[in-house]
């Protein structure tokens, strides 16, 4: 579980410090305010820690450096790592506290004729006993574009689908476990299957994903995107990729979902958090926010809320807790603006 994050000169974040984290953490902001960047850098840290912990042999400092910068590169796909440094600055620094351990990475912009980039990482060497796993659910569903991701990222290493897609694909290849699943997680998966009236399964000679509803099966192109999105989550639970202790990142989970489905999906995310999954989600949806506000108040559970705004080149962050009510954010402002606009259009039509 993340408990502290500090980004210095990372992309648009000149000095970003998030010190209050919860089981569910919400990030909002207009387009181009760094929501996805924030989720992705946290993901790169957690995934590197997970990968290094899974290695049998010890990880040297050089290995750790390669692992983390490689993860940054394939998660962000910049032209060079320098592109991750804030414009006009010469170096960046990323620091995080994850499961009580400190991790950091710093590097300077490569100057002409300087030669090899000097990268300093700490904490990423193999840590026995570290039990961190990370999953990123990107806005696009991956089941229909499975082969495209596999070929472009896996085989040819072409930029396009970043590692949030590729890592997810690798997890979805894992078949359902024959062992036990935590009952509370199984309840969540069953609840989601029930909501969509079927389940995404792997079948046939080609072991392709199919949506099965009663006696009928549908290929992925025939299946609604919202169902696929929910099916991805249930498959991750059923193959034990998503379990207690997992850090789950969701970028715009509302995409392709009807408001009713958004409400159910958000409630399931809340249940996952209660079951021990740490969640970071970036959203543009008032439905997601309203549901979380209600759940936070009902269960008196802290839901830290990070609202990002852009001021010129700078990104500013405001932090609050949804347990105290809906914080100020641009989604409220736009809803209110639309309300006012609709109101006054009606007035004009009434001739007042």
């Amino acid at each position: 579980m993340f408990t502290d994050v500090h980004l210095k000169n990372f992309a648009a974040f000149s000095d970003f410090h998030w010190s209050e984290h919860g089981q569910i953490n919400v990030v909002v902001g207009e387009n181009d305010t760094g929501k996805s960047h924030l989720l992705k850098v946290l993901y790169a840290i957690a995934k590197t820690v997970e990968m290094n912990a899974a290695r049998n042999a010890g990880t040297s400092r050089v290995d750790a450096q390669i692992a983390f910068t490689g993860k940054l590169r394939w998660t962000f796909q910049p032209q060079s790592l320098d592109a991750l440094i804030t414009n006009g600055e010469t170096s960046l620094r990323v620091e995080a506290l994850l499961a009580g351990k400190a991790y950091s990475c710093a590097f300077q912009r490569t100057l002409p004729k300087q030669g090899t980039k000097r990268i300093l990482v700490t904490g990423f060497s193999r840590q026995p006993g570290t039990n961190t796993s990370a999953i990123f659910l990107p806005p696009k569903e991956v089941l229909t574009i499975f082969a495209a991701i596999e070929i472009s990222r896996g085989k040819y290493e072409i930029y396009g689908f970043d590692d949030t897609y590729y890592d997810l694909l690798k997890l979805l290849r894992v078949p359902p476990t024959q062992g036990d699943i935590f009952p509370e997680l199984l309840t969540i998966a069953d609840g989601l299957d029930e909501f969509v009236g079927g389940q995404i399964v792997r079948k046939g000679i080609s072991d392709e994903f199919l949506f099965q509803r009663g006696d009928q099966t549908y290929t992925m192109p025939q299946t609604a995107d919202g169902i696929k999105k929910i099916g991805i989550l249930t498959n991750l639970i059923k193959n034990r990729s998503l379990t207690k202790g997992t850090i789950l990142f969701l970028d715009e989970p509302e995409t392709n979902l009807h408001p009713r489905a958004i409400s159910v999906f958000t409630e399931m995310l809340f249940s996952l958090a209660q079951a021990g999954v740490q969640i970071y989600l970036a959203t543009h949806s008032y439905f997601v926010l309203k549901k979380l506000e209600i759940l936070a108040k009902r269960h008196q559970m802290s839901i830290p809320f990070c609202s990002l705004t852009r001021s010129g080149e700078e990104i500013e962050a405001q932090f609050s807790d949804m347990r105290d009510g809906m914080p100020e954010n641009p989604i409220i402002d736009e809803s209110l603006r639309l309300y006012e606009e609709g109101y006054n259009v009606d007035m004009q039509r009434l001739g007042k």
Binding site: P259, Y286, K290, D324, G325, M326, P327, E328, I332, D333, S335, L336, R337, L338, Y339, E340, G342, Y343, N344, D346, M347, R349, L350, K352
Partner: protein, 207 residues
Amino acid sequence: MPVFLDPAKNHIEPGFLFNPPHEHAFRLSDSALADTLFKRFGVHEMDFAWWDEPAQTMNLLEVKDYSTAPFVAEHYVNECAQKATDCLLLLASMWYGLPYGPSVSECVPDEWHTRPVAPPRLHLFFVLKEPPSADARATKDPFGMSALEDKVRNRMRGRIELLKLTPATKLFLMNHRIAAGRLLPITTEEDFVREPEPARTKHPRKR
């Protein structure tokens, strides 16, 4: 001694009629404070107030008719926040023993003399009368009213906390139709004057 509203009568506020739920409802603007604090210092008050004995709750209600006027959200939010803030300051002067406290306590029922600490509770209601077409719009923009409530609540949150009222205070903002559904003691003037439909008599079918 507070000036209580006659429960047998409806009390008019533009666009609305307030139906006192019992004999201990009152308007701060009818009190002796009106000539002193309100007029002299420009203190604003919410429209109606009453004590809910079973729920042990002080209720303050502000109604506003925007059914025939252009709506500016920022203006409405500011107005709600100003009236609620002034009312809370007024009551706080009594709860915290400030100089105007004794004058205020003479104008409100005994149950209001103690700071709400859950219980007693304090509910702040804001009711907005929308134009008739608002229902259709609400289906397209279900969060307009909710966003308005969030805005007023956010504006008031710090003030409520500073007066040590957070655990006991709830703020609600709704349109007049929802208010009627929640059994707030108000009706719109249109609803009041509308003649009840005559009871339909079933005529036996001719065989």
